[in-house]
Symmetry: C2
Amino acid sequence: MALAKASKQRRPTVPLPSGGGQRGGLRERKKQKTRESIQRAALRLFEKQGYEETTIEQVAAAAEISPSTFFNYFPTKEDVVLYDAYDPVAIRMFLERPKGEPLEVGLREVLKNLAALFERDERMILARGRFFFEVPALRARLWDELEGAQLLILEMLAKRTGRSPDDFELRVAARVVTAAILEASKEWMQSNGRHGLADLANRALAVVASGARLQAPTRAKPRTRRRS
Amino acid sequence: MALAKASKQRRPTVPLPSGGGQRGGLRERKKQKTRESIQRAALRLFEKQGYEETTIEQVAAAAEISPSTFFNYFPTKEDVVLYDAYDPVAIRMFLERPKGEPLEVGLREVLKNLAALFERDERMILARGRFFFEVPALRARLWDELEGAQLLILEMLAKRTGRSPDDFELRVAARVVTAAILEASKEWMQSNGRHGLADLANRALAVVASGARLQAPTRAKPRTRRRS
DNA sequence: CTTGATTTTTGGAGTCACTCCGACTTTACT
DNA sequence: AGTAAAGTCGGAGTGACTCCAAAAATCAAG
């Protein structure tokens, strides 16, 4: 079956700065800086002219590098938007949760901490977020990238329950939890940060815990309703 | 904000044959046939040489049309694989479920009926399935396309519960259910149809209903275990 | 500070998906 | 048959991305 070579394996996403944000030789540090500088330039252009309407050439010019060099830093145009310097931090946070702790608690805590971290450059994060949901190509990539998150959660669940990560039911559970958190993030981004990320995640996880069984109109309980 | 035009709106996916599979003028019927013939030619080539390794030119040649014409039938290369003649059938099935029926029951029934329908060209369906999970570009598109399914389920849930489709909790529920079914389909495809689609869907929905709360190793209860 | 090895940057040539469009052919209808 | 609509095709782009080899910057030693 020719499927093996069918994918031309998308070369691994931008290498995450293995450390928490300060690792690696001076060499690597500089590369990191350039990468972020390119990203900034790109996002600025995308916001001004739109994603599709901006060419790599323009981004390269704005970042004062050659188009060739752009591809040294990001394998595809999409990756400039995808790239998130916080990712490794989040992953590490998650992995370092105490072994015995119930999954949801861990998730809630991580999300809470992240939300706090985000306050720094929330503006940029939210801007990126909007792209994800408005540019088809990015939206698709994001979904796919989520697979990684799901795997993390799966591992965690496997450890907690003593089941194998191959267990079908376990995989369903992991995917379901991931989906819930995704919807929370989406709401967060689309509401432009008005609703707290931690809050939304809590509510989403509550829905999961209740077996997604929603009773009649709860119309009378206007929760964190703000404006329409 | 330039976001509005940021997406160059991916022109709508291949128009679904509005009817259940037999509607439209003679004109349209012929188009449909051509479309399916192109798809067959394409899938055959993809299987033989791999997706990325096959050019549109080759597909066009195999289907005895010009490359230009290819794009008359499918907006992108991905869509040749994505296109599913059964989609409209499935959607219609789902929409025609009795109003009062609980969502899960409806889902189970639809899935069961579909599974039965699939027996016809299961081989091709499964082949397509494998592409989805092995070719990054297709995987991503599929995730995104799932958004449509989620919307359907959301509508249905809204009707059932009397809540608004904007309700955050409802959206989470819809996404969670969709995720469960996705995992079931994925398992189905990856197991090459060994486990029944309807079975898997049932088990997945059960996990959701239980609040995704899995107890310790259930190793001792081998369920619908078949071979392994 | 010089030299040679090692990265990094860059330009150029090429592939491929996809767009735009005008010319040409087929089909449907009177 | 005659005409309008729909479908097909070819050619000339554009832009993302690959491959490669030649410059240029960086670094390590002597």
